[in-house]
Amino acid sequence: MTSLNLLALVSIGYVAILFSVAFWADRMALRGRGAWFMGSPLIYTLSLSIYCTAWTFYGAVGYAARSGMEYVTIYLGPTLVMIGWWWGLRKLVRVGRSQRISSIADLLSARYGKSNVLAISVTVLAVVGVTPYIALQLQSITLSVSIFAEADPTRSYNEAGTVFWIATGLACFAILFGTRNLNANERHHGVVMAVAMEAVVKLVALLAVGIFVVWGLAGGVDAALTRIDQSPIGQWQVQGGRWVAITFVAAAAFVCLPRMFQVMVVENEDERHLRTAAWAFPLYLLLISIFVVPIAALGLELLPEGANPDLFVLTLPLSQGQNGLAMLSFLGGFSSATSMVIVAAMSLSTMVSNHIVMPIWLRSTGAFGGASVSGDVRTVVLMARRFSIAAVMALGYAYYQISGGGAALAAIGLISFSGISQILPALVGGLFWRGATRAGALAGLAVGFGLWAYTLLLPEVAGGLFSTQMLEHGPFGLSWLRPQALFGVEGLDPIVHCVLWSMSLNVAAFCIVSVISFPSPLERLQGVQFVHVFDHSAGPGGWTGSVAQSEDLMVMSQRILGPEEAQAFFQRALDRQGGPGPLPEPTPEFLEQLERELSSSIGAAAAHAMIGQIVSGAAVSVEDLLAVADESAQLLEYSSRLEAQSQELSRTARKLRETNQKLTQLSEQKDAFLSQVSHELRTPMTSVRAFSEILRDQPDLSDADQRKYASIIHDEALRLTRLLNDLLDLSVLESGEVTLNQSRRGLSEVLDHALASALAGADRKLLVHRDATAEAMIELDTDVDRLAQVFINLIANAQKYCDADRPELRIDVSQAVDALHIDLRDNGTGIPAEFQGVIFEKFSRVTPERAGGAGLGLAICREIMHRLGGDVAYLPGASGAAFRVTLPYMAKIEEIR
């Protein structure tokens, strides 16, 4: 009998070997050695064997003891996938590498437009699906230990404590070798090596037990076959439905299980390894399953009734006193359990930390973007992974504690498998159907997982949740909703029932929603990248550099940098490398320098993409493409901004030029005006000064002369005053600061007043003709004083300038549609045609100076009339000088309103 102490010693020794193998492999990988061994297809194939967990090791025998040959389906699924669908796996591996996929959640997220929702969903579902499975492994170890404990009464066996310490140890291992550093490719050589070693251990252990059973106990192959026929196993009927369903579920789980994805895709060194694995892994499965039936048959025959068939692998050798073999068998089961738990915890933690913890951390710290490459974030990611591993292990442990380890191992395994396989439609659809969309994937997953939970997980595992009544009559008495007889489909095995409904509705929802929903641009791009991954990604061996690549790089660099600069750059690199030439080797340092050099010309993203294309032949990834597009968009926006600015500038320049022109014009006008004003002021002042000096200096002047000169001074002073008044008036009118005093008065009254003012003190008689009837009808509502000023000016002009012998002025009133016309005509010769255009300009004068006006009168008239909303114009073609004053009816109309 093996004592528990020895068992513990052996276990610890085995774990120590496991640690050292992993440690050694990591060291070798770090130094870049041992690649021939670690990177061999054999190791890859062996690492795939984590598919065979404790469930396979112990459970398959139990399965066979309970259900006959049906256990074969568990191996048939993966075998069919490896042999019949290796091309699909190759595509999966290629996509995984070209997209730098870290987990199955990452893969689905990447395929469907980097959807975080999808990643979180898959992560949660994986955790839900895999946690019972981890618990299962822990349970198997406890069970196996308990076998030895039963046989060793010298020590009390603390089951809970054992599980706790095992779980802690496995978590430590996963943390130690799964999160040592952050590799871009997420490969873990140490873990893979340890897993491969455990694969050998469990195969050897099972083969050894099998050989012992067949040749040691049964007495040869023939005898063994006879005994099998006699056992209950020989009488089991093959249930077609269950066979198909379980084979399918096993195949799906083989592809979709997070830990399988981890070793098959993420840890894959070279996709050519799949070629080896396609025959080697089925062979492994064959070897590991070949002795299951004999062990089961002899266990049933030799061991007492009621012995747990799940532990025949252990109890059979023990019952025969084969302690060494039992120990080996124990180690095989231990290996199966530990390798699965380690890789499962690692892969789940990657998903949990990448898709749940990191997004939350990044959002909460606002560190999105800039800090993504800093060491700070790397530490956080590693910490997140470690905590996630601990959390996953804790969950498994908790589940184990709560469930109490009751259900049969195989049952839990199948439930877990059928849950995980719900990912398959979205995965396969994403790889082969460009039309698959995020919404479709989400819909399929939701429907599939919902149905799985409703029809299988909850009734089977958490049986207490559903009452018997509900199982038999459906929720709320709706019989068609009975969890295990959905839509009235009765009499099916629960597994078959679940797979049938969940898978068919999953696929249906996925396809229908994909067809009716619309993919985002990123989804479209990624869809092309996934479905046509072989068209634009490198085959195996594309990563090694060659001189031919240097030539390609040279050609590309010349195109971007220009021939001389590119040649100089390559020459410098060659000198640094000291190689034979003529071109430098495409070493990583050189490529990095070149990328930096190019990125200054074409942008970092474009440079990275172009070098990547040549060196690796790798597809330009969607990130690269998007980054290039981003850069171009930024450039485009920048240039259009520049263009807009330059347009704005030229617009401003034009405006400034125009303004300047206007200012220059105004300045010239102002100069001319000032010069005119100066002239108009100087002239009367000259007379005033001259005559006042004469009066002062000439005492002998006659009285008549004195009076004459004094009156000249007086006249000129008046002229000055008038001029200044006019100037002020004009300035007020032109600046618009004039205030109009609207009032109501008859036209005839205004004209009476104007005539009286204009003709007062006139030395020459002016005969005025008026139309009293018409005038009487007009009532004005305007600034009548200003209007009178206009009339006074015009009448005074007639009085002064009319050259007729008997000057006459005729004032006519007429009404047009919208305005009132008041025409003033004299009987003189009128204003010569050449002056008619300028008479309303300031300082314009038609007649010689003698009349004493400064030439501002008509300008003032026009300003006033404009202010009143009307106009004053010269009427050409009349016999004498004729002016028309136009007044709008506006004021009147407003008042009527």
Partner: protein
């Protein structure tokens, strides 16, 4: 020493003042108010001095000056120009056109008289050198 002066000025009051001042000095003043036929008046009068307003109806003082200078007989005729426009460029233009003295309105009577005396003296000095013997006849006239 004084002689005949033609005064072309459209401002009647200013013309009257200058006429008054110069007559007291012994000048024979002929006033003309229009630029148009000023040259004919000057040619007919053959004055010893011309006083021109710059801004005249019909023809500007500047043009009249140029026309005067174009005639050989009047090459040395002193021309005093009066203007109410006091800009520097006017003075420069006037000097280029051949104006002997330029004066801005308003001026004091003394200024005008001094200018006329100066111009007359200069002219006589020039003539004294060139055509000796004519002066006594003039003085007697």
């Amino acid at each position: 020493m004084t002689g005949r002066v033609v005064l072309v000025e459209d401002e009647a009051n200013i013309a009257e003042a200058i006429r008054f001042l110069l007559s007291r000095e012994g000048w024979q003043v002929e006033v003309h108010g229009d630029g148009h036929d000023a040259l004919e008046v000057i040619m007919a009068a053959a004055p010893d001095l011309v006083i021109l307003d710059l801004m005249l109806p019909g023809k500007s003082g500047m043009e009249i000056t140029r026309e005067i200078r174009e005639m050989q007989a009047f090459a040395d005729l002193p021309i005093l120009m009066l203007t109410a426009r006091g800009q520097v460029k006017d003075r420069e233009m006037a000097e280029r056109a051949g104006v002997t003295r330029f004066m801005t309105k308003p001026f004091s009577n003394t200024e005008v008289l001094t200018a006329v005396r100066d111009l007359n003296a200069q002219a006589q000095q020039a003539r004294g050198g060139a055509v000796a013997g004519r002066d006594p006849v003039r003085d007697a006239g």
